[in-house]
Symmetry: C2
Subunit: 405 residues, 2 copies
């Protein structure tokens, strides 16, 4: 709890502020860095010198449009100098990507798999395979600073223990403990809930840029949620926060995969929509596509099923709007596809159930990152430690001489 600030701490904080700014917001002129970071021009120059010596940033003289005189050098991150591995374990797909400093996706792979059939062992084997494939290049391997993994389940942040992933069929799985040695990479591995990571990515690079109070709601087979509160992700005491799928909304409702009755997920999840449309609840992606096609063709049963799903979406969102007073609700996953058919009934129930004051301030928008939101969020948590203290990276073995530059 040492909150005072010595000069070494200050230098680290300033390095962190510059790298974060460039990573999050892209190329910047020195003048813009001076304005955004709030340091003198000479302090910025000295810190950039350190980052430049370590090849983390590059400077180019770029003629900015409409600015007379000598152009200010534009500073940008070098995406190859520092990379992370991002992984997403979802119910019906696996994905992995290598993402460079600055957020550039250098390579991405996504593989489909049959819904909910993969064991923990199979999943780990497949993730390791994807990781080897993406990190075959030795320079890329040397630039790796972290691994982030998104999982469709209730995940403890500290060690990646998965207490429950009902749609994967997993319960009490020490996923981190098994995955880390299997990967065999000597960098930190962070495992988190996919919707929490989707929220992080939409906030940094998607539909919620510049908004500090955001609710991200994603419909996959289940329903996930991620919250941004005062510009920061809400994870709760152990990383279990954001489980909006399990808000009790209907005491006389259906049994949920979590064991309880009447969770929001039982009313707005894929299964509920399929059942309302007269199909088996476990029909999966093909059945869902069919319902959406029927709705697009004006078929009344499909439209009514979506309308009722929209009502329940609105009811649940109203409670969350009252609780969190967000400026933006971002609908991701399948919910983005429902939106054209559900928005009337959703907004109607929101009007009815949300308090006028927070209601007036909130907008409902679709995800901008779509299917990649969680994967990009996994990259961001993998970068987090190094963004908080880039000085640690400058000091790593083989770089000692540069740290004093």
């Amino acid at each position: 709890m040492a909150v005072g600030q010595r000069s070494e701490t200050v230098r680290r904080a300033n390095l962190s502020a510059i790298v974060r700014e460039l990573h999050a917001n892209g190329p910047r002129s020195r003048s813009m860095l001076v304005a955004r970071i709030g340091l003198t021009r000479s302090a910025i120059r000295s810190l950039l010198g350190e980052l430049h010596a370590a090849d983390l940033v590059r400077e180019e003289r770029a003629a900015l449009q409409g600015t007379p005189g000598r152009p200010s050098p534009v500073v940008r991150t070098n995406p190859e100098a520092m990379v992370v591995l991002a992984v997403e374990v979802n119910v019906d797909s696996l994905a992995a990507a290598v993402v460079g400093l600055g957020g550039d996706v250098l390579e991405i792979v996504r593989v489909e798999r049959a819904s909910g059939t993969a064991s923990v062992e199979e999943t780990i084997t497949e993730v390791v395979e994807l990781s080897r494939r993406l990190l075959r290049d030795s320079r890329r391997r040397a630039a790796l600073v972290g691994v982030g993994v998104a999982v469709a389940g209730v995940v403890r942040r500290s060690d990646g223990f998965i207490s429950m992933a009902p749609n994967l069929g997993w319960r009490d799985v020490p996923f981190g403990q098994r995955l880390v040695p299997a990967l065999g990479l000597d960098v930190p591995v962070t495992i988190a809930n996919e919707a929490d990571l989707g929220a992080l990515a939409e906030h940094l690079r998607g539909a919620a840029i510049g908004h500090d109070h955001v609710l991200f709601v994603t419909g996959e087979v289940g329903v996930g949620g991620g919250l941004i509160v005062d510009g920061r992700p809400l994870s709760g005491v152990a990383g279990f926060g954001g489980e909006i799928g399990h808000l009790p909304v209907n005491r006389s409702g259906r049994q949920c995969g979590c064991g309880a009755i009447g969770c929001w997920e039982t009313e707005v999840g894929e299964g509920a929509l399929l059942a309302r449309a007269g199909r088996p609840a476990d029909g999966g992606r093909d059945a869902l596509d069919a319902v959406l096609d029927e709705a697009a063709a004006g078929e009344p049963v499909a439209l009514a099923a979506l309308e009722e799903t929209g009502r329940w979406l609105g009811i649940g969102l109203a409670g969350l709007v009252n609780l969190l007073n967000p400026e933006l609700v971002v609908l991701g996953g399948r919910f983005g596809r429902y939106l054209p058919f559900v928005s009337d009934s959703l907004e109607e129930e929101l009007d009815r159930h949300a308090l006028a004051a927070p209601r007036a301030l909130v907008r409902i928008v679709p995800s901008r990152l779509g299917a990649d939101a969680s994967l990009l969020g996994a990259a961001e948590i993998a970068f987090e430690a190094i963004l908080a203290d880039p000085a640690a990276w400058l000091r790593r073995p083989g770089r000692v001489e540069l740290a004093s530059a």
Copy 2:
């Protein structure tokens, strides 16, 4: 958005860290300050010198028990040097207090009033009267740095606009705009929701000290909530956050004062309990006391009414536990009195509806500050600006010479 740190910024941050530490945690030896703030002994000495010159802190040689050698001086805040006025506007009472730096309550007044009958004008007149009475002493008046006001309603933080206070019968009231000139004090006035402030106070000085993920739920005539997320209050984009009373939990339920159907408040509010116990829902405090007396005497109708209220408390709390993953739920107001009679059914529904992982980490405890929680929270928001930058206070007119000490 200037995040870089110059030496002047650093000095201010360090002064702020010391004053906050002493304000929040009480007297500290210099050695403890060195350890807690993370600065050198000589830096701490120099900063304390500034605060001492401004009479904000005092040092005493105190022999700490069991420590051999020369006792380290103990530093404490001087509560008379800097005070705030705290006010609470509740449905059936008004309260005001003068609170000194360090949290000492120097004087407190609470007056009862008939439930929900006071107009905005009457309320402002009464608040001004209480304020004059508490600030009659000219030294106290000179030491005043802020006013904080807690209101049982949906309050916009920026200007104290009350969008809705159904149990006061107020709607769209520019309360801040009217109260500030009426008070006629030349210090900042901050107005916020009472439950948000209760949460703040319980976190700093009550049942939730040392816990960074806290849900405060208070039963007054309505139901209020306040959230602490990662150690900081969640207020949402405009301060409307925490309105847990209006989570939709029962689509086929009762009409709520907010206009919607089936809000949590309609199941766990005072009126619902009284109706279940066979009394008029608007029976007020006397009727409530009677129901609690009957329950204590083992009367079955009263016990059953409380049991059912406990069920609904558990259902709503389960959703909040899933959403927020708190380590502590603090029950305040009337809920603290219900607790002995509702805890079985509450915990049972919590087991049933909360996910196992966050459920295992949460404890339900009664408020420690009781009826004064919101008032003490109002004092804390009034201190906030000066705690963030005590240097501004040292520089104020008449103190200029001390700022350079």
